[in-house]
Symmetry: C2
Subunit: 227 residues, 2 copies
């Protein structure tokens, strides 16, 4: 598969394609046109063809995409077959919810271990993942390949933990702390799950819709008064 510089927007759409293709597979759909795929995803057929053309040629003109093959190709592009290992730091409410509910395996990740400082947690398992003490982490990192750290620690210690981990050679973080972990120019990979950013975007859209409705009503009132 050829790799060229691909825009962030395209990369962000790939997981959506993957989920949609999994859904189609479950429904027994084996072939789909870019037109139909676009309709189901709210994208234009040409946008879809353009997205896929970044990675080579997936479809046959006029014949559509093989759902299964396309799914495998996108999974490969996303690195789901690379056997990435992850560890999780901070088994509080959100860390716990991730260990229990989020199927890392399904997305190609192996969740190897979690770390915390609470004595009552250390030595236990959550969903088959062993909880180790934080003081064991450096040894663990020296003895094991870790591709991604899932960071769920309290925000007060997030940046310090990150810097320690970067010193240990970690260069990819899945960040649940709602803190900017690194300098924006750093080449460490940080993928943020900023819950509040998401809720505030929704808050904006809800506000906007309400304002539009009020504007519409006012226009209507003015029209009514005129007649």
């Amino acid at each position: 598969m050829k790799r060229i510089k691909v825009s962030n927007n395209v990369i962000r759409r790939l997981p959506r394609y993957l989920r949609k293709l999994d859904e189609l597979n479950e429904q027994g759909v084996s072939r789909i046109s870019s037109g139909e795929l676009g309709k189901q995803l709210g994208l234009t057929p040409s946008q879809i063809r353009q997205d896929f053309s970044c990675f080579g040629d997936f479809g046959q003109q006029g014949y559509g995409y093989n759902v299964n093959t396309l799914r495998q190709d996108i999974a490969t592009i996303l690195g789901m077959d690379r056997g990435f290992n992850a560890i999780l730091l901070g088994v509080g409410n959100i860390g716990n919810a991730l260990l229990r509910n989020f199927s890392f395996e399904e997305w190609g990740f192996s969740m190897k271990a979690a770390f915390d400082i609470k004595p009552e947690l250390i030595g236990t398992e959550v969903n088959g993942v062993p909880i180790l003490g934080q003081e064991q982490m450096n040894d663990y990192l020296q003895q094991n390949k870790v591709d991604v750290v899932v960071l769920c620690v309290p925000k007060e210690i997030a940046v310090k933990m990150t810097n320690d981990l970067i010193e240990q050679g970690i260069d990819a973080f899945w960040n649940f702390t709602n803190v900017e972990l690194t300098d924006p120019n750093s080449d460490v990979l940080v993928e943020n799950m900023h819950f509040s950013d998401s809720l505030l975007a929704l808050s904006y859209f809800v506000s906007d819709k309400a304002d539009e409705e009020i504007a519409r009503q006012n226009r209507q009132k003015r029209l009514n008064n005129r007649t």
Copy 2:
């Protein structure tokens, strides 16, 4: 504050500005130039000025932004002062983590009630939020203003629940179910927290970085062999 159609990318940056301004406020910084703000966020000063110009004029040429005023203006644009009410559906691991850890109030939302079907939960409270039975929901919706539903139910029932709620007049969802809730052309507002999309984007970037490193090493080898 004037409202014009603003691009999604600009809207998505507003919460980041807000978090940064909160951080600056905490550090006692009262005024900041677009240059310095840009540096701290990995954006260019002109991008920042352009973003803010969508909503009117916030800064004074050559004098920078008043951190506190700008923070208030962005909060207003985001609708944080509108007193939005939210309810949460599905008090499993992730719903529970949200109720316990996520400070809805801090972002302008009032979390009024949560709903579940588990008898042992109904009638209890999590972090001051009452847990009601699902069969009480329709009555609740008729008697109370609900602006946003936080959806944390199992994915199998996510679409059906959404359709029921839309029929009850709900038109904004914060979606934690990893399912596309509505037709992409629907005018219902759905803000998705697709955990797997985020992890897969990270997986892509980690793969890409690894490939680049291998390519770099191969180039180096070829160079070494040549000499």
